[in-house]
């Protein structure tokens, strides 16, 4: 018995409350808060379990933290747990962000408040830089990729060019660049034969 005794939520309601609580603390990203709340405060998962689930959540399409909430809810109470955790993750923050959007839309229309539109434009510049910072933080992971850095940069650069500069539709770009990239990865992984 190597598994330490873990706490667990006693009901779907407890899941909902826990995920609402952590989502509302997550300014600019929920992931760090989720780790702290679920692993450290509530003790529902070990750090290793959390990392494993996160890596699976990141492989799947869709928002990572929403996928993670589905997986954790499913682990405890099946699909009812998944729905409770996802609802907790989304409902309260949705109400907050819609209220903000409503206020911003009205303020941006009124001529007496030109600074609101200005503030939103300034925040948009920051949002752009936040996304770029995420990309830069992921760059070291690409260096360790079995593809090798030159090939990885070529596929990444081709995607950037097709979407950012040529503005091609995403489905064609993913279908056009994805399979060759996966084929190269398949071949490289086999060629390396995992040193270990």
């Amino acid at each position: 018995m190597s598994e330490p005794a873990l706490a667990r939520p006693h009901s779907c309601g407890a899941l909902f409350v826990a995920f609402t609580r952590l989502a509302l603390q997550g300014f600019g990203g929920v992931l760090p808060v989720a780790q702290r709340e679920l692993v450290e405060r509530l003790g529902w998962l070990t750090r290793e379990q959390f990392l494993e689930m996160l890596s699976v959540a990141q492989v799947l399409p869709g928002p990572n933290v929403v996928n993670l909430s589905l997986m954790i809810g499913d682990r405890f109470f099946g699909w009812r747990g998944a729905a409770s955790a996802m609802a907790g993750m989304l409902l309260a923050p949705l109400a907050v962000v819609l209220l903000l959007a409503l206020l911003a839309a009205q303020a941006a229309q009124s001529a007496s408040l030109p600074w609101v539109a200005g503030a939103l434009r300034g925040m948009a510049v920051v949002a752009a830089a936040l996304v770029l910072a995420t990309a830069i933080k992921l760059l070291p992971a690409l260096r360790k990729s079995p593809l090798g850095l030159p090939l990885a940069l070529a596929f990444g650069g081709a995607t950037l060019l097709a979407i950012g500069a040529l503005r091609w539709p995403l489905p064609w770009v993913v279908l056009g660049i994805g399979p060759p990239a996966m084929a190269c990865a398949w071949w490289r992984i086999g060629a390396v034969k995992r040193p270990r």
Binding site: S55, P63, V66, L90, G122, M123, V125, V131, L170
Partner: protein, 186 residues
Amino acid sequence: MNTVLFGPLGLGPADFAQLLGHFTLLSLLAIGGAITTAPDMQRFVVGQQGWLSDAQFSASVALAQAAPGPNVLFVAVIGYNVGGLVGVLATLAGTLLPSSLLTLHATRWGERQRESRLLRAFTTGLAPLTLGLLVATSWILFEPAAQRLGSALLAALTLAIMLRTKWSPLVPIGIGALAGALGWAG
């Protein structure tokens, strides 16, 4: 009241169906998070349909990042600005339903196959695409403000804060709101 329900543009059922359809399609392509599909959402909502301006699109994403909760809620703000609460329903359901159903079905399979060559080739091959999509997203959000020197300085400051300190993203967002309100950037 109608503006809140259906948005300011007077969209009809066919428009909402298109909105739902496009976001549903993008859901399964959202490798590396929903934000990577932002360039295609912008291409559709701004370029093809003309429902929002460049600046409105970027502001929608920014608003969601300033609020608590998962960043995917930027699709709700886009939905609201395009088509009110019905628009929210269309963009949010489209974005979340396909990927959530897939997640529920694929989770157990994925945990077993994590070391398999096929799954590793899949994730390894897609990682560079994710990175390219993130950089494209960043550029598309930045573009409406790109003419101004203040914007470039603000972006550089944000990058420095995020890469060199452990401060919360709320700090640069606050600075950005202030700089934009004073007319220095954006």
